[in-house]
């Protein structure tokens, strides 16, 4: 169950990144025809991010303390000391960006170049920050793995 919760957190995060990339590409070609789609996909990015945040937050508070103990006793303590500490605070900024995306995308993008530029910047920041955070998650998982492997040897 613990692993399913963790993978659900990651999957929702990937969903947010993919939705933001979709919004970015669609906004490059914004017209009256795809305006509604941009708005719906930007809302999906926000919903995915909130789900990822809530599921990940639950996992972090309830299950992570055990992993933290394992990591800190293993050969990669930086997986917690730097990567988890950074991730748990950067993710709040990612949540703000994903929440803001549908607000920015609600403007008439087809007729407003400045609004399009704003949406492009916000939609670009989400995958950049999101992929960085996904990478941090991978290092944290590896921190647990190398600690358990070191214990077995």
């Amino acid at each position: 169950m613990k692993e399913i919760i963790l993978m659900t957190h990651v999957a929702f995060g990937v969903g947010c990144v993919l939705a933001a990339v979709w919004v970015f590409v669609d906004t490059l070609n914004a017209s009256a025809a795809n305006l509604k789609r941009i708005q719906w996909v930007s809302r999906a990015a926000a919903v995915f991010m909130w789900l990822s945040f809530l599921v990940g937050g639950y996992w972090y508070v309830v299950f992570y303390p055990a992993d933290k103990t394992i990591i800190l006793k293993g050969p990669w303590p930086f997986a917690h000391e730097y990567f988890m500490e950074t991730k748990e605070h950067l993710v709040i900024m990612l949540l703000l960006l994903a929440t803001y995306l549908p607000v920015a995308a609600a403007n008439p993008l087809a007729a407003n170049r400045d609004a399009r530029r704003l949406v492009l910047w916000v939609a670009a920041l989400i995958p950049l920050l999101g992929l960085m955070i996904e990478g941090h998650g991978a290092v944290i998982a590896m921190g647990v793995k190398v600690a358990l492997l070191a214990k077995q040897i």
């Binding site: 605070h89 703000l96 607000v103 400045d114 704003l118 910047w121």
Partner: protein, 106 residues
């Protein structure tokens, strides 16, 4: 002529995003440097990170609606070509503070 204005909520929540991101980074440094602050944050919700996230999200919503309601309900105005660098600066500087703090200072 092309429309170049954005909604008052776009401006207010864009500024709120930059501001609350910066306060997120400041709160990281303050709680990590002050065990008393971290203990107080923990006592509020049971975990310092839950309190941290709740504070930043409340600031985002609070600043957003406050700025949107300013100037007699017309909201604060800022040209988009200034809103974008403000938002970017808020996110990049906050990210750099958080990364730099855990990399070097903590």
């Amino acid at each position: 002529m092309e429309n170049r204005t954005v909604s008052k909520y776009t401006t207010s929540f864009g500024l709120a995003l930059a501001l609350s991101s910066l306060l997120n980074a400041v709160l990281v440094v303050v709680k990590e440097k002050s065990p008393a602050v971290q203990a107080a944050m923990k006592s509020l919700t049971g975990h310092h990170w839950i309190t941290h996230a709740a504070i930043v999200l409340a600031l985002f919503a609070g600043f957003g609606f406050l700025l949107a309601g300013g100037r007699g309900g017309r909201g604060w105005t800022l040209p988009v070509n200034r809103l974008i660098p403000t938002l970017l600066a808020g996110v990049v500087v906050s990210g750099a503070i958080i990364v730099g703090f855990y990399l070097l200072a903590d």
